[in-house]
């Protein structure tokens, strides 16, 4: 295989399985936006064209539609690459981790940042197939380190957990401030 011969070598991204599926969905999305362009944007009186609130959304949506159509057309005329279903399944499998992430997000205001982060890291590590105590312990330590770095040291804005309300006075304010 020859390497680095022409300009196109460096920049060309070749098609992969699932390209057509994405091209179709993107086109449908662009058409949906195009259909709503009139109702979701306004043209106001006594204003230059380029200063119209609807000008840039129109440019963007038409651009999406035109380039999306060209991309779709090029996907259609290209030879089909096997593995489309497997690829789409791969995409869909990521939804499980979206769910994990959102559960974690919802737990933080309830259990507090420290507890929910440690629980999230350990349970997810277990789910991924790591069963050894060393790996699970490492997950807990990593979670603790993240909390210490961001909440205790850098003081980023993450609210304290509702559970902290049940702690005695001084302990409660300590946990609210640092964990």
């Amino acid at each position: 295989m020859s390497r680095i011969k022409t300009l196109q070598d460096l920049f060309k991204r070749y098609r992969r399985p699932g390209d057509l599926v994405f091209a179709v969905f993107f086109m449908l999305f662009a058409l949906f936006l195009l259909a709503n362009l009139g109702t979701q944007t306004e043209w106001v009186k006594r204003t230059q064209l380029v200063a119209q609130p609807a000008f840039w959304p129109a440019v963007a949506v038409w651009g999406m539609a035109i380039f999306g159509a060209l991309h779709l057309a090029s996907s259609f005329i290209s030879p089909r690459i096997p593995g489309r279903l497997a690829e789409v399944t791969f995409w869909l499998r990521s939804l499980e981790y979206v769910a994990w992430f959102l559960v974690y997000v919802l737990l933080v205001p309830q259990l507090g940042y420290l507890l929910s982060t440690v629980a999230f890291a350990v349970i997810l590590t277990f789910r991924l197939g790591y069963r050894g105590g060393r790996m699970l312990g490492f997950a807990a330590l990593t979670a603790l380190a993240i909390v210490l770095l961001f909440k205790s040291f850098l003081q980023v804005k993450v609210p304290g957990g509702a559970i902290y309300e049940y702690l005695p006075g001084a302990m409660r304010s300590f946990m609210l401030t640092y964990f």
Binding site: L10, D19, F22, L70, S94, V98, T125
Partner: protein, 507 residues
């Protein structure tokens, strides 16, 4: 000279020094771990830096930006897996050298070439700064609009073979920027009467989703692997003198890096391509390229490390980011109400110098760190990839949630995470979305204010700089069409090319 010293004074604070150390050493480690690039790290750390002074936050982010490519060379050379996307070319000559038992020599060359490229770029910029301070004030709204337009055209055309996809994604970015309540006429755009859409899409939420969360999902869903590089025998320092035998390649490659870095939308890949091709054409042993040529390795590493410094030029002088990482940094400026642009060079030249000196120092810190810790790094990068996904996802949460404690933001970021995963799997570029969002916003504001003062569209280009940029836009488009026609005529079989050189997985 006074400004240079007051720039130094700005850096003489313990918090800046700590930020510089964390940024530069952290950047090397992050760059060395395949699967986590500077973009992921910067995206995660971005919200945390908002509470710092601009100089502290930017020093840390610049540290990561400037040092990740040093780290990325390590797995590229040792295990043929680039640590960051821009180290892909390094594998061509670096790994064959390792197979020949010359890992120590290859690493020494990569580190010194990177150092040379980085320092060369910064010295050029320090010398250029007074000139920029003279030119920058001539950039009014129309010039900035045209420069942003040129940037977006270049970023689309740079994705050759996927220009349609890059174009649709860039327009998607422009669209995302328009969603919400628009601040001039107070109309709603594409809000569909949903309150969560009224405030629009936050750039940082989108960036975190597309870069960090998508990478976490990729690692979590994919098979588990653990890189196992062999320890390097001997001291890397003892081999560093070899770079001086390749001064010509190092200088020309750094030069390509500086020039390409300054042009918005072009960046490391073009710089590397040009310097590699030039080095090969001008070499006495061109047949060695791709088989372990020291010159090829130097061309790749010197060029990519010269880019970060140069990429700060359009960002600082015009407020126009040339690629995703500088686009992220722009948000740090905005949060602190420091508006990059001509005024920054006129009024805060010391701040600009401080950033350049910080970049100079980071190169020294990184080189010293690497001399002593290469073997330590080979152990650090042995993290199982799925576990790395857990860490990135946990860190991404802090990044998104700390912005405004919004569950909706987290859900939006997760949505963009899935989109990012799909794009990366399809090897479609993510960067045009980010640049579309940022440059779209700049174009909207600047075109509105620029057009307010002119009578006919032709007046848009009646000033010299505006005319030059407009000429460049036409030239770029004409050259693109010409290259397409030429390449169509000399069609080369698809199987003759290395298809995976540009893998967006690593971004």
């Amino acid at each position: 000279m006074d400004t240079l010293f007051s720039g130094l004074e700005l850096l003489a604070r313990w918090d800046v020094v700590v930020a510089l150390l964390i940024g530069s050493i952290g950047g090397v480690i992050i760059g060395a771990i395949p699967g986590v690039g500077a973009a992921v790290a910067i995206a995660i750390l971005l919200p945390a830096t908002f509470s710092f002074d601009p100089i502290v936050g930017l020093t840390m982010l610049l540290g990561i930006y400037g040092s990740s490519m040093y780290g990325g060379a390590l797995p590229a050379i040792l295990i043929n897996t680039p640590g960051t996307a821009v180290n892909a070319l390094t594998t061509y000559d670096g790994h064959p050298m390792t197979l020949r038992g010359e890992a120590q020599r290859a690493l020494a060359l990569a580190y010194t070439a990177s150092f040379f490229g980085g320092v060369f770029a910064i010295l050029c910029l320090i010398l250029l700064a007074p000139l920029l301070a003279l030119i920058a004030p001539h950039f009014g709204s129309r010039e900035i609009f045209l420069a942003a337009l040129l940037g977006i055209i270049l970023v689309v055309l740079a994705h050759r073979g996927q220009v349609f996809a890059a174009g649709m994604l860039a327009f998607f970015g422009i669209f995302l920027n328009t969603v919400g309540l628009e601040p001039v006429k107070y109309t709603r755009r594409f809000t569909f009467d949903q309150s969560w859409l009224t405030s629009g899409f936050d750039l940082i939420v989108v960036v975190l989703g597309l870069f960090a969360i998508s990478q976490a999902f990729m690692l979590l869903v994919d098979r588990d692997t653990t890189p196992h590089p062999q320890p390097v025998k001997g001291n890397v320092f003892s081999k560093m003198g070899e770079l001086f035998r390749h001064k010509r390649v190092a200088t020309s490659s750094s030069g390509f890096g500086v020039v390409m870095g300054m042009i918005p939308g072009v960046g490391e890949f073009t710089a590397q391509f040009m310097s590699y091709t030039y080095a090969q054409k001008s070499s006495k042993t061109p047949e060695e390229f791709g088989k372990g040529s020291p010159e090829g390795l130097i061309a790749s590493e010197a060029a990519n490390n010269a880019v970060p410094g140069a990429a700060m030029i359009p960002l600082l002088a015009l407020g126009i980011p040339g690629e995703a990482l500088t686009a992220m940094m722009l948000s740090v400026f905005y949060v602190h109400n420091v508006i990059p642009g001509p005024q920054l060079f006129q009024n805060d030249l010391d701040f600009v110098y401080a950033l350049y000196i910080a970049m100079l120092l980071l190169n020294v810190i990184v080189l010293v760190f690497l001399i002593f810790s290469t073997n330590l790094l080979t152990r650090v990068i042995q993290i199982p990839t799925r576990f790395l996904g857990v860490i990135i996802l946990s860190l991404s949460f802090v990044g998104v949630y700390s912005l405004r404690n919004s569950v909706t933001d987290c859900a939006i970021a997760a949505g963009f995470g899935v989109l990012g995963l799909v794009l990366k799997r399809l090897n479609l570029p993510v960067v045009p979305i980010i640049l579309g969002m940022v440059l779209g916003g700049i174009m909207e504001v600047k075109l509105r204010s620029g057009m307010a003062r002119i009578k006919t569209p032709l007046d848009m280009v009646d000033r010299p700089i505006a005319a030059i940029i407009a000429g460049l836009i036409v030239l770029v488009l004409v050259l693109h069409v010409r290259t397409l026609i030429r390449e169509h005529r000399n069609r080369i079989a698809e199987s003759d090319h290395d298809h995976d050189i540009h893998d967006s997985h690593l971004r």
